[in-house]
């Protein structure tokens, strides 16, 4: 797996920050927005130029920031999985994005019409372009390469689709994940919905004020059992279960009782062949909006009753990275399994009044066999993926 987020440019850096309780939230520096003083974001320190240099791209490249972040994370994932010949097995790529090339579009929107030097970015106008560039960077050719965009649940759905492609025998290996950069478009969009916090976000806290937007990319390499055997691979974790459901309640808000999230978790448990008690840790969606944390908390109670396992949201570290979030948190879930450790839910002070749920507040060492990760989004989209230590 590979990752770049506000708390680090590699898996190791992200892990260190998680362990040390170091969040990557700050005032925005790279986008000139009038909202600067009213929001906090999870911004990646590296500039586009630095990322271009890191990737060794020619100056005439037309990569948007989403593609740059995606390529960095995907390359780490390939190296981490010790893949030297990408063409050896039927290898595909499924990536998620919601922002895509919007950073360039909003920068050159009117210039496109007259300034030919900006027109190279028009090809990045469609959401699949950043995925194509990641495929190019990995050397994936003549294969299945596609993109998913289901708002904030997108990358969890990439994992789900990738797992199904392997299960059905269509591919032997799928690189799955997602990437989203910060943009004026999303900053202002969430601002109009009045769900951005002007300070550090506080998931599952009674006085939560909204989310911090973040930018990130993460990819995981899924391989079939045959590939694992043939290559004598070390397996980091298993995609044990997955479930997707729709809240069918409201275009942007989650239902008060979390019907969709409840269904997604139940489906995932069923696919895994698990009882709720088999889950040792929940990496919650926990965006710190009033609506999400209430709805998700109720859904967790619906599924787990009075035996809710340890849970935390890691969004106070990274910000809400939208379409990438499911992949970021998949990496964190796998890290939790690998190290038998639960990451704390930062910034929490006050118990929510609607229920007695209290997230894990301190770093906790504990033997973990199964971690459940939730991703919920606009359009009622609810996704759950379960990762396990054993097949």
């Amino acid at each position: 797996m590979g990752i770049i987020s506000a708390i680090g440019n590699t898996v190791a850096e992200n892990y260190d920050a998680l362990i040390e309780g170091r969040k990557g939230i700050s005032r925005i520096s790279k986008i000139n927005t009038i909202q600067r003083d009213e929001i906090m974001v999870g911004e990646i320190a590296a500039s586009n130029d630095a990322l271009i240099e890191l990737l060794g791209l020619p100056p005439e490249n037309n990569y948007c920031r989403t593609a740059l972040l995606g390529a960095v994370a995907a390359k780490e994932a390939i190296a981490n999985a010790q893949i030297t010949d990408i063409k050896k097995y039927r290898t595909g790529l499924v990536s998620a994005t919601s922002v895509g090339g919007m950073d360039m579009t909003e920068k050159y929107y009117y210039d496109y019409l007259t300034d030919t030097s900006t027109q190279k970015y028009i090809d990045g106008h469609h959401a699949g372009d950043s995925t194509q560039k990641v495929a190019e960077q990995l050397g994936i050719e003549q294969s299945l390469v596609t993109s998913i965009s289901t708002a904030c649940s997108s990358a969890a759905n990439s994992i789900m689709f990738g797992a199904r492609l392997i299960k059905s025998g269509k591919l032997d290996r799928v690189i799955v994940g997602g990437a989203d950069c910060l943009s004026k478009f999303t900053i202002n969009g969430f601002k109009t919905l009045m769900i951005l916090s002007d300070t550090y976000s506080t998931p599952f806290d009674e006085n939560r004020k909204g989310l911090n937007l973040g930018e990130a990319a993460a990819f995981l390499v899924l391989e079939s059992e045959e590939v694992v055997k043939a290559e004598n691979k070390n397996v980091l974790a298993y995609v044990k279960g997955y479930g997707n459901a729709n809240d069918a309640y409201h275009q942007t808000a989650s239902s008060e009782n979390g019907d969709g999230a409840t269904l997604a978790m139940e489906k995932a448990l069923k696919v895994a062949g698990y009882e709720p008690s088999d889950i040792d840790y929940i990496n919650a969606h926990g965006t710190a909006t009033g609506n999400n944390d209430l709805s998700e908390g109720r859904a967790i109670i619906n599924v787990f009753g009075s035996n809710v396992p340890d849970f935390s949201s890691t969004k106070a570290y990274t910000g809400h990275t939208l379409a990438a979030a499911g992949a970021i948190e998949a990496v964190f879930s796998v890290l939790a399994l690998q190290h038998d450790i639960i990451f704390p839910n930062l910034n929490y002070k006050t118990q929510m009044k609607e229920f007695s749920l209290r997230p894990q507040l301190a770093l906790k060492e504990k033997g973990l066999d199964a971690v459940l990760s939730n991703s919920l989004g606009f359009g009622g989209n609810c996704s759950t993926v379960i990762f396990s230590k054993q097949a």
Partner: protein, 354 residues
Amino acid sequence: MKKVYIQSVGSVSAQKTFDNSEFLDEITEYYDTIIFAVNPVYKDYIPPAAARRMAKGIKMSAVASKIALTEAEVENVDAIITGTGMGCVRDSEKFVSAIIDNDEAYLTPTSFIQSTHNTVGGQIALGLGCKGYNFTYVHSSISFESALLDAKMQLELDEASTILVGGVDELGDHTVAIHRAINHIKLKAVSLGGLLSSRTEGAVFGEGANFFVLSNEKSDTSYGELVAVDTFNTLQKGKLIEAAITFLTQNDLKVTDVDLLVLGNNGDIEFDDYYRVLQDGLFSETQQLYYKHLSGEFNTASSFGLWLASKILKTQTVPGIVNLNDLSASKLDVILLYNQYRGLNHSFTLVRKC
């Protein structure tokens, strides 16, 4: 593994395709570089108050999906899977231009909400009260095929029994303007009949929504069987024939088993030679059809191609307007579709009479 059947179709396109009792009986001619969908009477399908608030892409999809669901005689489905290249792009344009024009002030959330790519899938789910699986694929010219493949795998594995699948894209002014600026849209108007002989760069852009109910149970009214879908991020011209043969072989078919070849030619002199490889080579003795002179080019135009193939299988007729060569198939059982856009994101789709 279970087989997958196309149970119904629903289409809103630049032709009058929303009436399933007809099959391209009347053709809407044009002389233009972009063509808009022929609007059905929306209030026949959607409550007028709701329709007023809806983006065009949502509206077209609401109608197309309703037609498909009605024809399949199902009230709900296990999953809704949508493909769209750009989503409700007019709302994206509206929100970006508002940000720039007003320096981030005076913004309202409506266009931001509708700009989210999965708005269409979410709205259909809301309308149906469908809490099932809901995915949206957004990958240029294989957006729809990705949705189709996802649905097919779930039906084959019996993880679902009925799935609504669709492709939708709408035209937006700014998107048209910038694609015209880089010659992806033709500079000079062409007529419907003159698309392929224009010898100019770019395509005629269009819009539309084509939805299908797929099931793993055959019925008397099934249109046909969806046999296979394959997509390729890249595919060089020199590898195209090999890829086509491999695809057919994987499905136990030979070139001569293909009765009709449906191609995505869009009249772009720079990229139609991909189709030429199959037209002049492997399938020179096969009846060939095209459709983008009717639908226009858009990221999910190939969903119109599948609509065409489905209608042919069911009616066992080929409307003369779609003929690309002079050959005439002796039977209409096996149809192969091939599409690409600007040399990228290629797809093969295979359907068969059932």
